[in-house]
């Protein structure tokens, strides 16, 4: 759902605009709308989510209607329409991963982070959600973390704990 309560006014930097133009150059003249998905990924990587204002500005850039951006952003599940935690842990919850314990990993995350699926921890650092098949079935359970979408495979309760403490430390060092 589009968030109307929360909005984030953005201004695309010259570097971002350059990246946008590079993407547009991949398609024939007049087919710049094809650049929409790649550009939304770039915007989300920059700001963490897609605000209505950001999407309207993408529409302006591509010379298309804002609704054409909204309908795409709401269709594809990778696009976040609300702000989330700094690290959004997306656990695969589809068949093959469940055969090897994905449900246990999600239960553990809920308990360890103390937040329900989709919610953000009070420090704003973590959120988690179940997502559908990530094409890593042979190495399950798996989770991914955007915006680089690094995969963590063959998860165990211990390796998840380790990952969370690593990310917490990493974030402290960055601050």
């Amino acid at each position: 759902m589009l968030s109307v309560k929360e909005n984030m006014i953005v201004e695309f930097s010259a570097d971002l605009l350059k990246q946008f133009s590079e993407v547009v150059s991949r398609y024939p003249e007049g087919k710049q709308k094809s650049a929409l998905l790649p550009i939304l990924h770039i915007v989300q990587a920059e700001y963490g989510w897609l605000s209505v204002d950001a999407m309207e500005k993408v529409a302006l850039f591509l010379n298309i209607q804002p609704i054409e951006v909204f309908e795409v952003a709401t269709f594809y599940t990778m696009f976040l329409l609300q702000p989330s935690g700094k690290y959004l842990l997306e656990v695969c919850r589809t068949g093959p991963c469940c055969l090897v314990g994905a449900e246990k990993i999600m239960d553990h995350l809920e308990q360890k982070l103390g937040v329900k699926e989709g919610e953000v921890t009070p420090d704003g650092l973590f959120a988690w959600r179940g997502v559908e098949c990530l094409a890593a079935c042979g190495f399950g359970p798996v989770l991914q973390i955007g915006p680089s979408y690094t995969f963590y495979e063959n998860l165990t309760v211990e390796s998840v704990d380790q990952l969370i403490s690593d990310l917490t430390n990493k974030s402290k060092n960055e601050a």
Binding site: R26, P28, K31, K33, S34, A35, L36, L37, P38, L40, H41, L62, I64, E68, E71, V72, F75, Y76, T77, M78, F79, R93, T94, G95, P96, C98, L99, V100, V131, E132, C133, L134, A135, A136, C137, G138, F139, G140, Q144, G146, P147, S148, Y149, T150, F151
Partner: protein
């Protein structure tokens, strides 16, 4: 040891770089095709090879290519389908991660055969690392003169671009993929017109799976006839199988078509048997949408013949006692797994991924999910099983794209082969919460069919 055509050098250090890939004989197919063959020759070799689409449908690739319309002055496109979202399938991710130049080389050869000067590789958005790998490989190939203007001085021009998806299963369907590539929602188009006539930007387009495109490299190198010597009947060449679930060694294996299923599951060269010393209960042989089979029917056909990894043998017995090769996503279930829970899980997946265009799929998948949730959580009734059967029957064949069928088949097969497990959930709701139905008669040898 079976022959390996795609993964032969997968363990060579640095095979992901152009230099090592070329040392191992890479880009020979580009030299050969562009310098000594006409585009028609390449199409002819692919036809002779008997290569069938590796994405799931199994349609002959050479024939698909020959349908491509060639009107004057209109660009043609090759689009590589790297959406790979069928649960149980992860071979394309593996191929792109470890040997990206195999795909680039296949893309160049295939684009040349089709007369395309711009080609796109559509990769699902979650595979951002693979997208970066492919972009780097394209840069390397371009620097080496295999891409760009006047490739190897032959006058042929080609640019390849990578396009990320957004996390939608439906975009693996070729017309939905094209919609997505045009920057729209992934709603499948009504066919005809087929992409071969009006595809990307309304121009003639071929959409092929990653593995199909990579397979054109050995076909050009050694000739289509040589490729067709591997395999049985109309299942030629090698196939990448993604093995997952309760196996000792899950992973991606390249097999020669015709390998017995039993050998694939139990031999140490492949999956090495069922993990933790358990027994095999069931297998989904070709990605989540193909019918699930109990252990006795996956290793042997209803007539008692060993079942082989070929399009024909896996489909032996139709949907009554057989399954399908699909995308090669081989999911094994041990005796501790619950079929009802798994069917509920798959149905939730299809409800989540339905694009919502066609009512039977949009409404039917959600309805089936609710019923299955009810049964799994001990609130089901016997009528629910019949209702499930009715709903899946009314979805199948009544939608624009095959997602409806893909959602219906797993439910139908689960009821067909494991009905007593559904009934046990209904009759013993308390017990079903605490333990699993187990193997029961599913592991018993099949009773031979007698007159």
């Amino acid at each position: 040891m079976g022959r390996k055509l795609l993964l032969e050098h997968i363990n060579v250090p640095g095979i992901n770089t152009l230099a090592v890939y070329r040392e191992k004989g890479g880009y020979r197919a580009v030299e050969k095709a562009l310098k000594s063959m006409s585009p028609e020759d390449v199409v002819e070799e692919v036809k002779k090879s008997g290569l069938r689409g590796r994405g799931g449908a199994g349609f002959p690739t050479g024939m698909k290519w020959s349908f491509l319309a060639k009107p004057e002055g209109v660009p043609r496109y090759l689009v590589c389908n790297g959406d790979e979202s069928e649960p149980g399938t992860f071979k394309d991710r593996y191929l792109m991660t470890y040997i990206p130049h195999a795909l680039i080389e296949g893309m160049i050869v295939s684009s040349y055969a089709l007369g395309a000067n711009t080609s796109y590789i559509y990769i699902r958005g979650e595979m951002m690392p693979q997208i970066r790998i492919m972009e780097k490989a394209i840069e390397e190939a371009k620097a080496a003169g295999y891409l760009g203007k006047n490739i190897l001085g032959t006058g042929y021009d080609l640019e390849i671009y990578v396009q990320p998806g957004g996390g939608a299963y439906i975009c693996g369907e070729e017309t939905a993929l094209l919609e997505s590539l045009e920057g729209k929602r992934g709603n499948p188009r009504i066919k005809p017109p087929f992409p071969a006539v009006a595809g990307l930007y309304n121009c003639p387009t071929v959409v092929n799976n990653v593995e199909s495109i990579a397979a054109t490299v050995p076909i050009v190198n050694d000739g289509g006839e040589e490729y067709a010597k591997i395999g049985i009947e109309r299942s030629t060449g090698t196939k990448l199988i993604s093995a997952s679930g309760n196996l000792v060694k899950p992973g991606v294996y390249e097999i020669e078509m015709g390998l017995p299923v039993e050998e694939f599951i139990y031999s140490d060269e492949y999956c090495g048997g069922i993990a933790n010393g358990k027994r095999l209960k069931a297998v989904v042989a070709g990605g989540s949408s193909v019918p699930i089979l109990p252990a006795n029917l996956i290793t042997h056909t209803i007539n008692g013949n060993p079942r082989l990894m070929t399009y024909e043998s896996l489909a032996d017995g139709g949907f009554v006692s057989g399954t399908a090769m699909g995308s090669g996503g081989f999911i094994a279930f041990d005796e501790d797994q619950c079929i009802v829970r798994n069917t509920y899980n798959y149905t939730r997946f299809y409800r989540h991924e339905s694009c919502g265009q066609c009512s039977p799929c949009r409404e039917g998948t959600g309805w089936m999910e609710k019923i299955l949730y009810k049964i799994e959580h001990g609130h089901g009734s016997m009528e629910d099983v019949d209702l499930l059967w009715e709903i899946q029957r009314k979805i199948e064949g009544n939608t624009i794209c095959p997602l409806g069928d893909a959602a219906a088949w797993p439910v139908a097969a689960a009821i067909r082969h494991f009905r007593d497990e559904f009934e046990w959930h209904i009759l013993h709701p308390q017990e079903a919460q605490q333990r699993n139905y187990g193997l029961a008669h599913y592991a018993d040898p099949l009773v031979p069919v007698t007159e």
